[in-house]
């Protein structure tokens, strides 16, 4: 590849550097990008296709479906927290709103589930848009508090308006009907949730590797520099907040129909914290990290259930240990290790 004309003064400067990547990296970088998307998607697809072979009964499917539902939320939340650097401790509120919109519209008003889902998503989108502007003017811990407050208010409303929502004891949700058949049982839900998750991951990967995605990551790195480059940072923050809220709402709707029952716990503070922990544990700014984080933290309580009273002791220890020794999260840390290993073997 021909070098572009360089001012004479610079060759010396460049030579001084020991950095090994040169012009040839352009092509391999393109390949790598392709494989990060393609390779990641391929392995996710592979896992989804192979996993049912290991799922012996409805309980296993239940865990797998819960992983998928959580992963959809976390992939969206990762766009907000991991890429755009804006924390939210209130996303369970949007998840719960999605769930309850589906629940109420189908149970009380006889609406079709497939109609209630987009209505919930749209409603949550509009709400998120309305609150995003004032809330996202805040930053850091103040933003954490504000989003936490939004989530709590949603949770309180859901749990108080018992005439509509059944109150703290929850309400039943009719089964979802698709093309005249009722969706019931692990396998059917597995494929529905898997397809939705794949779509979510694909959209997320697309977004990140686009001008909009770079603007989001850019405003995370330096808000003022992004503004100066022409990025309307407020607009982009609002946009990603809405996207992540809508993804949470869709997952919530699916969760409501899947579990046939909703309680305000779906929208509560600890559920929000769980989602954020999934993002961070899996690896911030890593779409596949989000999926892995959701999987690990959904599976972990199932393993730890056998430890009975010691469950929380061990869960707390695991959370602390992973975050102390892998502050970047599971996937980025393991990926870096693998890369280092590959480089060593290449030598």
């Amino acid at each position: 590849m021909a070098h572009n004309v360089r001012p004479s003064g610079y060759s010396k400067f460049a030579k001084k550097q020991t950095y090994t990547r040169r012009m040839s990296t352009r092509k391999s970088r393109a390949q790598m990008l392709l494989s990060e998307r393609g390779g990641g998607m391929a392995s996710l697809l592979l896992v989804i296709l192979v996993l049912p072979l290991f799922l012996a009964n409805d309980y296993h499917y239940d865990v797998a479906v819960n992983i998928g539902i959580n992963a959809i939320v976390v992939v969206g939340l990762n766009l907000l927290i991991g890429y755009a650097g804006q924390i939210s401790l209130g996303h369970a509120g949007f998840f719960g709103l999605g769930a309850y919109t589906s629940a109420v519209l189908t149970a009380h008003y006889g609406l079709h589930g497939l109609l209630a889902l987009p209505i919930g998503a749209l409603g949550v989108g509009v709400l998120a848009y309305a609150i995003a502007r004032p809330v996202l003017r805040l930053s850091g811990h103040y933003l954490a508090m504000a989003t936490l407050g939004v989530g709590l208010i949603i949770n309180i409303i859901i749990s108080r308006e018992a005439w509509l929502t059944g109150g703290p004891d929850g309400m039943y949700v009719p089964l979802l009907e698709v093309f005249g058949t009722e969706v019931y049982g692990g396998p059917m839900w597995y494929w529905i949730v898997a397809a939705t998750l794949l779509l979510a991951v694909w959209l997320s990967l697309n977004l990140i590797d686009s001008p909009v995605g770079r603007a989001l990551r850019g405003l995370h790195g330096s808000e003022v520099a992004a503004q100066v480059a022409g990025v309307d940072t407020t607009r982009y923050k609002v946009m990603v907040f809405v996207i992540s809220a809508v993804m949470a709402a869709v997952a919530g709707s699916l969760a409501a129909h899947f579990s046939e029952f909703v309680t305000p716990a779906k929208a509560d503070f600890s559920h929000s914290i769980l989602f954020v922990t999934m993002v961070v544990l899996g690896g911030m700014a890593s779409t596949f990290g989000a999926v892995v984080g959701a999987a690990v933290l959904t599976l972990l309580p199932q393993f730890l259930a056998d430890f009975a009273d010691y469950e929380h002791v061990i869960l707390g220890l695991i959370m602390m240990t992973v975050m102390i020794f892998m502050p970047k999260g599971l996937v980025p840390t393991l990926a870096a290790l693998a890369r280092r290993g590959a480089r060593r073997t290449a030598r």
């Binding site: 805040l138 108080r160 009273d309 959370m319």
Partner: protein, 294 residues
């Protein structure tokens, strides 16, 4: 006194009772944030430890003052260990990661206490009896006065500590610029451990003071931690006085909300007010309005 006024006064006193508790917990958040810019979501667990350990030590036969001393000492050690073992090694991690670590620490502490001390609620005896004190027709419990009094003393003591002692000044210096503090010969590691210890001390004291009012169990720190965090944010992070004002404001809004609007929605009302305040004052009531240097 007109009945409407007595009613209002009673709401106010009720709000101050809750508010003083939130304030004391919020102060712990502010203190750690001041030194380390970490929000310690295990702060509520310090409160829980103070109460639970005092109960455990008294039921093991210790006198109340001794038990209080022991509980505070153990909680302080736990706080310092938390800094040394969990926060220090993750020094360079970003804010969210640190939050998750402290949340993990909270879960861990709750787990340990539930396994060792059980899951039951336990009361502590009130320090000065249970005879309500009447003020212009409204009443307040003596224990609430203890909470208020200690909060006030703590604020004054902290003010003095930060203004007049070398140690206090080193904490402030570390907060403003860690590198510069290090260069000036301040043992930054020690200062951070100390700030966690101090914050655990405040938490433990809060836990002991409020146990006679609300009773204590292994999960009592969850909601108190949340309210304390809200108090610290409302007042403006890193500002001791702010945390106190924030806590009292929160308590009073809740109680006026319950009294005049709807007890069902009093928590929601409180959070709406917090959101409204943050909308106009993005750094809380007393927070420094920082301008980014570019």
């Amino acid at each position: 006194m007109p009945p409407a006024f007595v009613e209002f006064l009673q709401f106010l006193l009720s709000g101050i009772t809750s508010g003083a508790i939130y304030a004391l917990v919020g102060l712990g958040f502010a203190l750690i944030y001041n030194a380390s810019h970490v929000i310690n979501f295990a702060q509520g667990e310090f409160v829980m430890l103070g109460g639970m350990l005092t109960w455990a030590l008294t039921s093991a036969g210790l006198d109340l003052p001794l038990a209080i001393g022991g509980a505070v000492a153990i909680t302080v050690l736990v706080g310092m260990a938390l800094e040394k073992l969990a926060i220090e090694p993750a020094r360079d991690a970003n804010v969210v990661t640190l939050i998750i670590i402290t949340i993990g620490a909270g879960i861990f502490l709750r787990g340990v206490v539930s396994v060792t001390l059980g899951k039951d609620f336990h009361p502590l005896p009130s320090f000065s009896g249970d005879d309500p004190i009447s003020i212009l027709g409204a009443t307040i419990m003596p224990q609430s006065l203890w909470v208020l009094g200690v909060s006030a003393l703590v604020v004054i003591a902290l003010q003095g500590f930060f203004s007049y002692t070398l140690l206090g000044k080193s904490i402030l210096a570390t907060s403003h610029n860690r590198m510069a503090a290090k260069l000036m010969g301040i043992n930054v590691g020690f200062v951070l451990v100390l700030s966690f210890g101090l914050s655990a001390l405040l938490g433990a004291m809060a836990g002991i003071l409020i146990a006679p009012i609300t009773a204590t169990n292994f999960e009592v720190g969850i909601i108190l931690g949340l309210k304390g965090f809200a108090a610290a944010i409302l007042g403006g992070l890193g500002n001791g006085l702010g945390a106190i004002v924030g806590g009292l404001t929160l308590g009073i809004i809740e109680s006026l909300g319950a009294g005049y609007v709807s007890s069902d929605y009093k928590d929601a009302i409180a959070f709406v007010v917090i959101l409204a305040v943050l909308f106009f004052m993005p750094s809380g009531l007393f927070g420094r309005r920082g301008t980014e240097r570019v």
